[in-house]
């Protein structure tokens, strides 16, 4: 069976590196994008199983990436977990309304993020409903 692929979208290279070490240690394949344009390109060419998405990005922002993702039928079912340094007010509700499966502010506990990833993947594969 192919390994689960996660696209990490963040403009901070240190954050990307830290997440990749953690995710790879838990068996995931990791891809990167550092801005909204390269994130959209990676979604189309690689079709990852899940996206960890920062909101503050160059060349657009995380909301733009989510909008493009949900407009594309082939990509719309990819779960997105928002992991951002932006303030809570206004962003959490907006991100969830935009279709994010989960919203976390940095820094997030590794266990919490890994649990959310597993749950979002289970939901997208039809093995679990969101309310379970």
């Amino acid at each position: 069976m192919d390994r689960t692929t996660i696209l990490v979208v963040d403009d901070n290279p240190t954050i990307r590196k830290g997440l990749s070490i953690r995710l790879r240690a838990n068996g995931y394949e990791v891809l990167f994008a550092e801005d909204a344009i390269s994130a959209t390109a990676a979604l189309v060419t690689e079709r990852p199983d899940l996206v960890i998405l920062d909101l503050g990005l160059p060349c657009g922002d995380g909301y733009v990436v989510m909008e493009r993702l949900h407009k594309n039928d082939r990509l719309a079912s990819i779960p997105v977990i928002v992991l951002t340094g932006r303030e809570l007010a206004g962003n959490r509700d907006r991100a969830l309304q935009a279709g994010a499966a989960a919203f976390f502010q940095k820094p997030v506990e590794d266990g919490t993020l890994l649990f959310a990833i597993r749950k979002a993947l289970d939901v997208s594969r039809g093995e679990l409903r969101f309310d379970e």
């Binding site: 901070n12 240190t14 954050i15 830290g18 997440l19 070490i21 953690r22 240690a25 503050g56 951002t84 340094g85 932006r86 303030e87 809570l88 007010a89 502010q105 940095k106 820094p107 997030v108 590794d110």
Partner: protein
């Protein structure tokens, strides 16, 4: 001394028709080095004087020849733009006092009151007004610039903190090789303090209950105990 104005002088605008002359003398002679009064005899002259930013407090006679008590207070408050207004009344004018305070006057003094009492009233009115203004400033909605600053602070500080925690946990979990007991202990201290810093950020930037709120509540409790 409560006040600390630029020149160490409290600039008083005295709006009264003349019968309150003792008040003026009190203000001008009581503590001459700290108070300076300018008298205007009518409401219209007083309002004109208030168009200049030359005063710290207004003493307003409620028995002016060209306006009722309520009209005087309302117009002076509007023109005074944040200056404390103290009503000057005769003994027994309780209805006028109540109306003036209801409209927003800071306090009142009786005509012919003792000099020390007048000066204290002026000082306290200015101090109270300053505290109210500070409180209103603290409670006002954040401006666009402040919102941008908060967003910037949140983004930068959370990213930096996330890096510290991510790599600290990577080391603690042995993902970059085994650690000695001492190294593990020191990393534990770093991560514990990173968690504390996160609580401070949550509290300061997002209003989540945390150390800052505890600090504020504690100080409010102490203030109440002191009073």
């Amino acid at each position: 001394m409560i006040l600390d104005t630029a020149m160490n002088t409290v600039r008083v605008l005295l709006i009264d028709a003349g019968e309150a002359a003792p008040i003026r003398r009190s203000v001008n002679t009581g503590q001459a080095e700290q108070f300076r009064a300018t008298r205007k005899a009518t409401l219209s002259e007083g309002l004109e004087a208030l168009q200049t930013p030359h005063f710290d407090v207004v003493l307003l006679n409620l028995s002016l020849p060209d306006a009722s008590a309520a009209e005087s207070v309302a117009k002076v408050l509007k023109m005074a733009r944040g200056l404390p207004v103290i009503a000057l009344v005769n003994e027994g004018e309780t209805a006028k006092i109540a109306e003036a305070l209801r409209l927003g006057a800071q306090d009142y003094v009786l005509k012919g009151c003792h000099c020390d009492s007048l000066i204290r009233t002026v000082q306290y009115a200015i101090e109270r007004k300053r505290l109210v203004t500070e409180r209103e400033h603290a409670l006002r909605p954040v401006t666009k610039n402040e919102a941008q600053l908060i967003a910037h602070l949140s983004h930068e500080s959370r990213n930096a903190l996330a890096c510290i925690r991510q790599f600290g946990k990577i080391l603690v979990d042995g993902l970059a090789g085994e650690l000695s007991g001492e190294q593990r202990e020191y990393l534990g201290i770093m991560l514990e303090n990173a968690s504390k810093l996160r609580s401070v950020l949550d509290s300061a930037l997002d209003g989540t209950p945390g150390p800052l709120e505890e600090y504020t509540n504690k100080n409010e409790r102490l203030s109440k105990l002191e009073t």
